[in-house]
Structure formats: structure tokens, C-alpha cells
């Protein structure tokens, strides 16, 4: 393992280097793009995504359903964990042999689209004008480019406030409501924090995953009237006065009230003190719901609180794209179309990792009445005040630059203000390099 990674990097250099010489496999005869939408010859397409074994089971079902509806198309599914997925995908893309269909996280979409490896789906969408009618429009935004859409969402995530009912009951604090402000959250978190005689905090009021803006940080910045980045994606705005106020608010909760654990402390509880039962509230998307189902306490969700400039949450979607080098683009699009159909969206809703993008399914019992008895509707209602998680070329490096830079602040080893002063120019440089 020690040398494995190093060898992997080196070996993939070689693989990628000679990939251009590869000839397509014998079975992948090109299909003329003028062929009818459903080709008559039996076709096999490959589909790659990130996920865990539970997700693979559901996708195998969706693929089987799809095959039943389109007997000529067989889909081969391959699932990897998040990190290996992107490594594998990049290697396949650079070798010119990408999977026909592959999963995309919206913020990273432009990193691929701008490099010309994705198929423009607009001609297909123009032929199927009603296809996206039932889809939440907020989830389509991320995929739009001046020359059309190169990807389609399959499910979405809005960030909500999770709370431990047992802790609220024990402390005699009223549950969070839709009228809550951040000041209410702070006051409640303070009451829910328990500090022992030795000064050690044994229970926190609130905890946040501070590695990424999406869960909990971008929300408060928007609510304070700040923003993450300008519309042209040329200037980082997290150092502007309003954003600083929001950061200061969280910083005070962490170091003055001690109601939020610093990241060193949080990592002792497996990174999620809420799930570990030592934090009364947290902010996450729907992806934590299956994991929280096994929690040994009662919990529910509420919308993110109100701030001086209103209420805000983040919306992000996962979707599918088609490789530009795909030999079976028609069959691939047929599959994307199926993913947005009611039967497939219902299966995804039952899987419970995310919210279906098809409104009729999201508002049906398949999504609203899941195994976990929580107010699922809050995820959908949050769309009304959701901002899109930023989507631009260079997103990964930009967010890593800010995340790395801010990390010492959230461990208590660096000052907030001076850190922001150095992080913002570094992030702007990344943006300049990616123009």
C-alpha cells in the first residue's frame, strides 16, 4: 500500500500516455447518430457511478426495469467509492474509452464539460420537448451552458437542520421551527451544551462538517447577505464583510459559547458528533438519512434558520452525462430518459439517499412516507429559498484552496480574519488560472 499509490500515479501516467493508440473493442461497433432513438440491434452500454453497495442494488433494479422496457439495450453497471470513481473516470476519459453513461456531481460538471469530453444532449432534448416538464427547474440550472445541456440531474440535495429530539426534551428546549433565526439557533445551542466540571464539553448544541461550504456554511453566508463567488466566477467573495459576519458568528459559537465542536474534537466522534449522539443539531442534506435511521435517538428535521437577509439553503444535484466518445449515444440517452421516468425515480426515492428530481414522485408517498418517520417535505419546501451550489471550472481546486486554508481556523490554531485575508487571494489565483 505504501508504494501502491505512488506506482498508481506513475502507472496511470503511462496508461494515459499510450491510451490514444487504443482501438475500440470489437463489440463496440459505431452506431450512426442518425439512427432512430431506439436502435433495433441489441446494444450494450456501460454505466459508471459512485455509490455504496445499497445503491448498487437499487441501480441494478433500475437497469433491469429499463431492460424490460427496452429489450434491445443492456446496461452494465459499475459502482466505485467516491475517490476511486473520479480517478478511474479520468483515466478512462483520457484513454478515449469512457463509459457510455456516467454519474456527475453538479459542481464538477463544468470541469468536464469545458474540456470537451461530454456529449451535448441538446439535440436529443429538442426532440423530446416534454421530457423535463415534471422536473424541478432548480435542479436543471447547473447543467445549462450557452450551447445547451450536457447533463441531466437524477436526484438533488437541499440542506436542512437535523435535531436530536431527546436532547431537546431533556433540556426543556422547544424544537426548531420554521420561524427560527440564527440567534434562536445560537441561544438553543447554548442551552443544549453541557460543560463538565473539568471544562470538557460532554454535549454540544450544534455541529457542522466544516470541510465544505455546502452543509451549513454557505447557508449562513447567504442568510447574512454574503455570497461565495461572483456571478462571473472571477472573484471569491467569502472575505467580504457580510460573509465575515457569518463566519464570525459560527466562530463565536465554537470558541465563545463552545456549543460547536472544533474539527479535531469532531473527528474523535467519527467526524459526525450528531450521529455519535453528542451534538443536538447539525446541518446536512438527505444523504445522511439512511445512516441516521439506525441512530439510537429520536430526531427530526427543520428548515435552515432565518438570517438578517432572509432564509437560505443550498441545492445541489447529482446527474448523469454521456461521454462524447460513446459509441452508443442513442441508447445512452434512452437510459438517461428512463432515469427521469416515474418508475426509476420511485426506486431512487425508496433508496432514500436523495430527493427525486421528478416532482410527481417527490410529492408522492414513495418519498414522503419512507421508513424513517421525518418530515421529508422540508427537503422539498427548502427549494423555495435555495441557492445553487456553485458550478464552475476549477471548482475542486478552488474549494480545496479555501478548505485547506480555513482548516486551522476550525481547529482553533489560526485567527479567522487574517486567515481569510490570505485565503481569498489564493482562491482568486485559482480562479484566474482556470479562466
Amino acid at each position: 500500500m505504501k508504494r501502491f499509490l505512488f506506482i498508481l500515479v506513475i502507472a496511470s501516467l503511462l496508461l494515459a500516455g499510450c491510451g490514444g493508440a487504443k482501438t475500440p473493442a470489437a463489440g463496440n461497433q459505431p452506431v450512426a447518430s442518425s439512427a432512430p432513438a431506439v436502435s433495433t440491434a441489441p446494444t450494450e452500454i456501460s454505466m459508471m457511478m459512485w455509490g455504496d453497495p445499497a445503491e448498487l442494488d437499487v441501480w441494478n433494479q433500475i437497469v433491469a426495469d429499463f431492460h424490460q422496457a427496452n429489450p434491445n439495450i443492456t446496461v452494465k453497471v459499475e459502482v466505485s467509492d467516491w475517490d476511486s470513481y473520479w480517478t478511474k473516470l479520468k483515466t478512462l476519459l483520457s484513454a478515449g474509452t469512457p463509459p457510455d453513461v456516467f454519474a456527475m456531481d453538479a459542481p464538477l460538471y463544468l470541469d468536464y464539460q469545458s474540456r470537451g469530453v461530454l456529449l451535448n444532449l441538446q439535440p436529443y432534448l429538442d426532440k423530446n420537448p416534454d421530457m423535463l416538464n415534471g422536473v424541478y427547474p432548480q435542479t436543471l440550472e447547473a447543467y445549462k451552458t450557452p450551447d445547451g445541456m450536457y447533463g441531466l440531474p437524477r436526484d438533488f440535495q437541499t440542506i436542512v437542520l437535523f435535531y436530536n429530539k431527546d436532547m431537546f426534551d431533556a433540556a426543556g428546549v422547544a424544537y426548531p421551527t420554521a420561524d427560527w433565526t440564527y440567534d434562536d439557533l445560537r441561544a438553543a445551542a447554548k442551552k443544549l451544551t453541557k460543560i463538565g466540571a473539568d471544562g470538557k464539553v460532554t454535549q454540544f448544541g450544534y455541529s457542522l462538517d466544516l470541510w465544505d461550504f455546502e452543509p451549513g456554511m454557505s447557508e449562513i453566508i447567504w442568510s447574512y447577505g454574503g455570497d461565495l463567488i461572483n456571478a462571473e466566477h472571477t472573484k471569491t467573495l467569502v472575505g467580504a464583510p457580510k460573509a465575515r459576519e457569518a463566519f464570525q458568528f459560527l466562530h463565536d459559537m465554537m470558541f465563545v459559547d463552545k456549543s460547536i465542536p472544533d474539527t479535531n474534537t469532531a473527528s474523535e466522534y467519527g467526524g459526525d458528533p450528531f450521529l455519535a449522539g453528542v451534538s443536538a443539531m447539525t446541518a446536512f442534506g438527505h444523504w445522511v438519512v439512511p445512516g441516521y435511521t439506525d441512530a439510537k435517538f429520536n430526531w427530526d428535521i427543520a428548515p435552515m434558520p432565518n438570517g438578517p437577509s432572509g432564509r437560505a439553503t443550498s441545492v445541489n444535484s447529482a446527474g448523469f452525462v454521456v461521454g462524447k466518445a460513446s459509441k452508443n449515444p442513442d441508447a445512452a440517452f434512452e437510459f438517461l430518459k428512463y432515469v427521469l421516468s416515474e418508475p426509476a425515480q420511485t426506486r431512487l426515492a425508496e433508496l432514500g439517499f436523495a430527493c427525486p428530481v421528478l416532482k410527481s414522485v417527490a410529492e408522492s408517498d414513495a418519498f414522503l412516507k419512507q421508513k424513517t418517520q421525518i418530515n421529508q417535505k422540508i427537503f422539498l419546501d427548502s427549494l423555495a429559498f435555495a441557492h445553487m451550489k456553485p458550478v464552475f471550472k476549477g471548482y475542486d481546486e478552488w474549494s480545496s484552496t479555501i478548505g485547506d486554508g480555513m482548516a486551522p481556523v476550525w481547529t482553533g490554531e489560526a485567527e479567522l480574519g487574517p486567515t481569510l485575508d490570505t485565503v481569498v487571494p489564493a482562491a482568486d489565483e485559482v480562479l484566474a488560472n482556470n479562466q
Partner: protein
């Protein structure tokens, strides 16, 4: 001692026959990758679009990239503690394990276990030892009336990961030294004993000089491992998006290649790492000529 023997006749045939698979692997695998890395280090390449000529830009960046400079400093600090630590401790362990103790193979196995255990699993156990509020180490410190220490906070994390990496490497080092120790003829020790040399003298005047080839080899291997250390460090100090509180150079190479679409920059960093290790190797071989005793 067989160091001076040369292969003869049929032995020569088998020597080359057995080395062929390794050579094929090296020529077609490693050599190709090395050449590709060198070529890419002069290119701008994001993996997805055709590479463009970058000239020396990637090499100029080696001196400007703040994240890389931090990683390099960390790698050097890490190696400076790790290499002597591994060599000295595994030599001492090997000397202990070279005695006639009851159940010595059990002890040897115990020392070797980390080498064959998944680094991810052992790192999780170390996390439980190092935890600030819930860790075993701080529990013991508090019982002894001392202040708890934040072992994996930035100021201590370097030492914490060095300890874990040394612990993980003792087993392999022990095997190398045991092989060297068993080759030292017993008569030397017996003669020394008759002359009245105690264990301490025997160790420094017989064991150490005669085991210099093993010390040399182990130092070399440990240095290479130190510059490529990744898995324990990742598991113990990782942060979001592939970062670490003690990022070493491998973090920088990996993230530039796979997360930041900067394959050219990653290649230049890999070359830089190779050049540093090669320079150290040259220095070691110079030392070898002066100090290593081949009997």
C-alpha cells in the same frame, strides 16, 4: 560470507533466467512511466484535452507553490525523524529477538504483524489511542495526574504520525537485521567474552561493524519509504478534499494530478521527489564506500 562470490557457469544462466521477469517489468512498466512522467513535466496537461508545451513553467512553480513547499518541509522533517528511528529501533529489536528466549517466534511475529496488517485498520486503532477526549493515551495521562495532550492537533501531529510509521516499519527492519545478525559467527562473541568485553562493548565493537551492510540497506529502504509515506498519514491526519494537517509531498502530487487537473505540475513534483531521493542515495553510496564493512 558470500558477498565476494561470483556466479559461475550454469549459475549464471539461472541468475539471468530468474531476473528476466523483473527486468521486463522494469523496462516495460517502470521505465515507460518514468519517461512519460519526464515528458509530461514539461507540459500543461489536464488529462482530458491534448497536452500543450509548458516549457519550464511546471518547474518554476515548484518554487512558488505554497502548498508544495509546506509539503516538502513536512516530508524532510518526517524523514529526518523516521529514518534514524526505524534503523535504530529495529536494530535493537532484532538484537533482542536474536537471543534464545522462550517463544521468540511469537515475539518476532508480534513485531512483524503491523507489516502485514492493513494500514487503514491499524490507523483506526491509532486514532482510538491518540483521541483528545476519548483516547486511551490521554486516559492514562489523566490517571497519572497529567494534562491531556491533543496528539493529532497540528503542533503534535507530525510526531504522532512519525511514531505510527516507525511502529509500522519495525517488523520489516527487524527481518533485515536478523538476517544480518545470524550471519555473524558466534566465535567472535565467545572470543570477546574471554577477553572480558561486556554486552555493551560486544554490541558496538562486533555487532555494529559487522552489520553495517544491513544498516546501509535498511537506511536506504527507509529513506525511500519515508519520501513516499502516505497511508498512515492520510488515515490519521486527513481533512476534507484530500488535505491533511501534515501534508507530505505525495499528498501534493496526488491532489494536483487527480483533483486539480494539473498532471504536468504533478509530474514535475514527482521528478523533484525522485531527484531528492536520488541525491540522498548518491550520498549514501558515498558513505557506503567509506564506512560499510563487507567481510
Amino acid at each position: 560470507m558470500e558477498y565476494g562470490l561470483r556466479p559461475l557457469g550454469r549459475e549464471k544462466f539461472w541468475l539471468f533466467a530468474l531476473l528476466t521477469p523483473t527486468f521486463i517489468g522494469l523496462i516495460f512498466g517502470a521505465l515507460g512511466s518514468v519517461l512519460a512522467t519526464v515528458a509530461l513535466s514539461f507540459a500543461n496537461w489536464d488529462l482530458l484535452t491534448p497536452p500543450t508545451w509548458a516549457g519550464l513553467a511546471n518547474y518554476v512553480n515548484l518554487f512558488k507553490d505554497a502548498k508544495l513547499l509546506l509539503s516538502l518541509t513536512n516530508t524532510i522533517k518526517f524523514s529526518a525523524m523516521y529514518v534514524p528511528g526505524v534503523v535504530i529501533i529495529s536494530l535493537l529489536v532484532a538484537v533482542l529477538m536474536n537471543r534464545k528466549i522462550r517463544g521468540v517466534s511469537l515475539f518476532r511475529t508480534a513485531y512483524f504483524l503491523p507489516a502485514v496488517t492493513s494500514a487503514v485498520a491499524t490507523a483506526l486503532v491509532w486514532n482510538m489511542i491518540y483521541g483528545k477526549d476519548t483516547g486511551i493515551l490521554n486516559f492514562i495521562l489523566e490517571r497519572l495526574g497529567m494534562q491531556p495532550v491533543c496528539w493529532l492537533c497540528t503542533e503534535n501531529a507530525m510526531y504522532a504520525v512519525v511514531i505510527v510509521n516507525i511502529w509500522g516499519a519495525i517488523g520489516e527492519g527487524m527481518i533485515i537485521f536478523l538476517a544480518g545478525l545470524t550471519a555473524i559467527p558466534r566465535e567472535y562473541y565467545e572470543a570477546a567474552e574471554m577477553d572480558g568485553a561486556n554486552g555493551f562493548h560486544q554490541f558496538f565493537n562486533i555487532t555494529v561493524p559487522l552489520i553495517t551492510p544491513s544498516i546501509f540497506f535498511q537506511t536506504l529502504i527507509s529513506t525511500i519509504n519515508a519520501f513516499q509515506a502516505y497511508d498512515y498519514i492520510y488515515m490519521l491526519t486527513r481533512r476534507g478534499q484530500g488535505d491533511s494537517s501534515v501534508p507530505v509531498v505525495v499528498f501534493s502530487i496526488y491532489r494536483n494530478a487527480w483533483n486539480f487537473f494539473n498532471y504536468g505540475g504533478a509530474s514535475a513534483q514527482a521528478i523533484e521527489l525522485t531527484v531528492i531521493v536520488a541525491a540522498l542515495m548518491a550520498f549514501y553510496f558515498w558513505l557506503e564506500r567509506r564506512y560499510v564493512v563487507y567481510e
